[in-house]
């Protein structure tokens, strides 16, 4: 599901099936790190969209969590804590953040959340088919990760 009116209606009708939230983390910067930040954002968003396409019926893909690269770790932690708090209040069983920025790792761990960290691959010089092949390849590996997490949670409940 995506954050659209139509998907939201489906979501309210089938809440019990949609137990997973995916949030892409997107950095903004206008200094020399800007280009990498933009490239990373593009990559992460494409991955997130493809994951949503595969798991539409169980994952709700939220609009990106946007932050500035010059935020301090403290700011970042505070922001993320608020997001985390709001999202765990609801009935979501699984909460995944996806980012190509390693600095989130420890922050997410402290919150006992799940961070999918993928090193970004620059896609700007690739044409459509090659781009798709790379995204496809990355996503394929992630799909198993999701299935395993779901399975593990079911095994605990069983």
């Amino acid at each position: 599901m995506r954050w659209t009116a139509q998907d939201f209606s489906t979501f309210t009708l089938s809440k019990e099936y949609i137990d997973t939230v995916l949030i892409p983390m997107v950095p903004i910067s206008f200094d020399e790190r800007g280009k990498d930040a933009a490239s990373g954002s593009e990559f992460i968003q494409m991955i997130a969209i493809e994951i949503e396409r595969q798991f539409k019926g169980r994952i709700l893909l939220l609009p990106s969590f946007v932050y500035f690269l010059n935020f301090s770790d403290q700011d970042k932690k505070m922001l993320l804590t608020k997001w985390h708090h709001e999202l765990t209040k609801k009935s979501f069983k699984h909460l995944f953040f996806i980012s190509s920025d390693q600095s989130w790792k420890s922050i997410v761990e402290q919150l006992k959340g799940e961070l999918i960290w993928i090193p970004s691959i620059p896609l700007e010089h690739l044409d459509g088919t090659n781009k798709m092949a790379i995204i496809d390849n990355q996503v394929k590996q992630l799909l198993n990760f999701f299935v395993e997490k779901w399975q593990a949670a079911e095994d605990v409940n069983a």
Binding site: F55, K56, G57, R58
Partner: protein, 169 residues
């Protein structure tokens, strides 16, 4: 000098007829144009999209076929990638199934779960479908997988842009 004099009455009626006729044509022409428009329209490649698959290469094992086309949404043109699971059934008929689960829209895969060989499996809520797309009772999906329409031209498989629902397949 010509002897034919135009009377005031004649002059007025000619003028009115001329202007009126012009106005009538101006209003009827667009209507006519619209009425014949479908005939004039160039056929935009039809509704079938060429895949990269040759029909002879198809076996009775479902294989994944991706195909792309451009879609206009308002003034925004986007590239749409569609996927189909294509195989030949016992009679040699081509079957092109949509991978979109009829439960909540996840993507199903052929033969991907060890416990359910030779079935389509939905990883989200464990929906199952037989090879012909029929949903297995007792799993979440309520209906069979949609099917694409297909065409064969010069040995190449063409698929419709959208899959449509089958009843009692």
């Amino acid at each position: 000098m010509s002897e034919q004099r135009v009377t005031r009455r004649q002059f007025l009626s000619y003028t009115i007829m001329g202007v009126g006729g012009f106005m009538a044509v101006a209003s009827v022409m667009p209507m006519l144009r619209m009425a014949v428009d479908p005939v004039l329209q160039v056929e935009a490649g039809g509704d079938f999209i060429a895949t990269t698959v040759k029909v002879d290469e198809l076996t009775n094992e479902p294989t994944r076929v991706d195909f792309q086309f451009e879609q206009e949404d308002g003034w925004y043109t986007s590239n749409v990638t569609q996927t189909a699971w294509v195989y030949k059934d016992d009679k040699g008929e081509i079957i092109a199934l949509s991978p979109v689960c009829k439960h909540l829209g996840c993507t199903v895969n052929w033969n991907s779960n060890k416990d359910h060989p030779n079935q389509f499996f939905c990883p989200c809520h464990k929906g199952l479908y037989e090879k012909d797309g029929t949903n297995v009772p007792g799993t979440p999906p309520r209906g069979p997988l949609d099917r694409y329409k297909y065409k064969v031209k010069d040995g190449v498989l063409y698929l419709s842009r959208r899959a449509s629902a089958v009843r009692g397949a």
